[in-house]
Symmetry: C2
Subunit: 395 residues, 2 copies
């Protein structure tokens, strides 16, 4: 075991972010998780729109709390040239700029990406859009649901005739992790080349990547996958089944060998011996009757009995949990995954980030009130802004 | 615009990966996308299990094609000590080891993570598990569906009483991007510290991160979100509506101001004026009747008319697409997002990776046949393996 250090791997890196909602805020929160200083530029009075979704976390919204601890909030009025100068001074000292503002918003500030890249050649600029530049849709608004609908993510979720949007905002979150990872790659690259980077990530491209398996299937077979609720279109039996103690077990088989073991587990050697069900392709055709055979057994057993039998037989199994069940999940609590973060209303629990090296510190931080760090940021960068204006040079 | 280089940012980096399925293969494919050399160690005769899912892509499976181009395949028999020595020699020269083997598999090879980290202090080791180390579930099998069920991802997807698994394998894909991003952070960190890293990522922790907004809601209000199909539990009206030309439009409102504009668009000024629907909280309560009001209008218009009206009114809108629609999406084709990759059966189309800096090359590559590079890899590393055995030192 390596000793834990006090500084994260991004100590000394400054990130300026003009962001709201999820895709940029999750990316910059993860940069903060690694020790970067993240200055979130918000408009005075309103700020990030997710601040206003609700106020359930001691006065702060559920979304905003999730995505914004460990950041500074600087409320700048970007209609005021003096505040734009402060922003430019910040960019002159920053390593990374992240933006998911509406298309053209940076240009209207006189801060178009091309001119920023020219002016600050070591700056890493990451810009998020819905549909990318060019093409017939580049002007269209993009929210998570809209992109999931456009990319077929909803068409492969739910049941036939009743498609559904995945509850996790895959388009937003996926975009966030690609912004995050590409910024990390650009920091590594800058050490070698001395050059910053312009990174443009579109939500459409991100979810299209995640659809890669389904795209290959449809391009090469012409057959659309039909969503089957809790199951998988490609394997059977597999899904959610009721238990004798009123819970829901999730289990199934991923291979013909597992199918034999599953039949033994549910006391149906006749099914194991029946050639009709020997191969996955055949079982997919007979999905309904096999689901019923599994359910007939699970209805006679408690969840604990089913889990023990599945583990013994080498059959993957899980519990269908609600969000409240996840909050109490022993696998999170017993592994010490919860810690405390600050919010304007007081301390609240939050999960540790999902990935880090053993030796890196698990940094904490607070959710900033709107403009909490405006004065400090102004003080820090106003002299640089003034001298840049006077001398005509950059800070 | 910056000129495109010929080498990716990870040129010179060698990744050895003991992987199958999605979570590790997508991570290492993205490392290859950035120019790393990726050597995929597979067992002879069978290899990565996703090779056998189907053979729709000119003889290769849809999943395997999606996740494995640009890699070398070295088929090594890790029950043979001579092949383990080859593997160790590879690790002696590698920068990164990725593994999503079953718990304990590396230990059984005499290659436990702790001993590898001690022996190769500059090596970055990333290991994937289902539930992490410790806790009551650390022995349990983990597949995408099982983890999505355990984390509540399915409970917030589908409809009340009919939950669904998101079709995109969020647990697998999310884990992949955290492996990928944390390896990039560790490469950056190694330049400063000289030290490698041990990175352990669990699928449970990844999806729990993605549930952060829902966790905060439930922890602080005790109220479980109820999934509403194509809609969002938090806003209304929002969802999928039929059009006069037999398509499905997706649209809705995210704010009270947009609600006013939406009412104007659907020729219902009476709704805009009605205080009952003035605020989102109220509209959520009256979701069903507002959905019907929107649908009454969409049924009288074509998708193109709806898109034009929505764009003009500043109302986000999209088309509900199938996977086949995505394959033909003009926003992908007109932006040049498709290119050609090699497979053992011939060239096939593939999407460019979702994120890169402008100046980085868009590398291509081929999907390797099982063991296609075994002889070359053996030749390259066997001398190092032999000298390590003779001298008792590492290669």
């Amino acid at each position: 075991m390596t000793a834990t250090r006090s500084e994260g791997p991004l100590a000394g890196i400054t990130v300026v972010t003009m962001e709201q909602a999820i895709s940029a805020p999750l990316a910059t929160r993860h940069l903060a998780d690694l020790g970067a200083r993240v200055i979130k530029v918000e408009n005075p009075g309103y700020g990030d729109s997710t601040r206003h979704y609700d106020s359930v976390v001691k006065g702060t919204s559920a979304h905003f709390t999730w995505l914004n601890y460990g950041k500074e909030s600087a409320a700048l009025n970007l209609k005021d040239p003096a505040d734009v100068e402060i922003l430019v001074a910040m960019l002159g000292r920053a390593d990374v700029l992240v933006s998911n503002m509406a298309p053209g918003a940076l240009d209207r500030l006189g801060l178009g990406i091309d001119s920023l890249a020219e002016r600050f050649p070591r700056l890493i600029i990451a810009d998020v859009s819905g549909y990318g530049k060019g093409g017939p849709a580049d002007h269209k608004r993009a929210y998570d649901l809209l992109i999931q609908a456009e990319t077929g993510s909803c068409a492969i979720t739910g049941t036939e005739g009743a498609p559904a949007k995945p509850g996790i905002p895959i388009a937003d979150i996926g975009t966030a992790v690609y912004v995050y990872s590409t910024v990390l790659a650009a920091l590594y690259d800058r050490d070698r080349t001395g050059a910053g980077a312009v990174i443009e990530v579109s939500m459409l491209d991100v979810v299209s990547e995640f659809m890669g398996f389904a795209l290959n299937q449809v391009i090469h077979t012409g057959v659309e996958p039909i969503p089957v609720g809790m199951g998988s279109p490609m394997i059977a039996p597999y899904g959610a089944y009721p238990t004798s103690d009123g819970q829901t077990a999730v289990l199934g088989t991923t291979s013909d060998r597992e199918w034999q073991r599953l039949c033994e587990m549910i006391d149906r050697p006749d099914l194991a011996a029946n050639e009709t069900y020997a191969h996955n392709d055949d079982r997919v055709v007979h999905r309904a009757e096999l689901d019923e055979a599994v359910a007939a057994w699970t209805r006679e057993h408690t969840l604990d009995e089913i889990a023990a039998a599945g583990d013994a037989a080498g059959i993957g199994n899980a519990r269908f949990n609600t969000v409240g069940d996840l909050a109490k999940h022993p696998q999170l609590s017993e592994r010490g995954r919860w810690r405390t973060i600050g919010t304007p209303g007081g301390e609240v629990p939050a999960l540790l980030p999902p990935a880090a090296a053993r030796s890196w510190p698990r940094l904490s931080g607070s959710v900033p009130a709107l403009g909490e760090h405006t004065d400090a940021v102004r003080g820090e960068f106003s002299q640089a802004a003034a001298s840049a204006t006077t001398s005509g040079e950059e800070a």
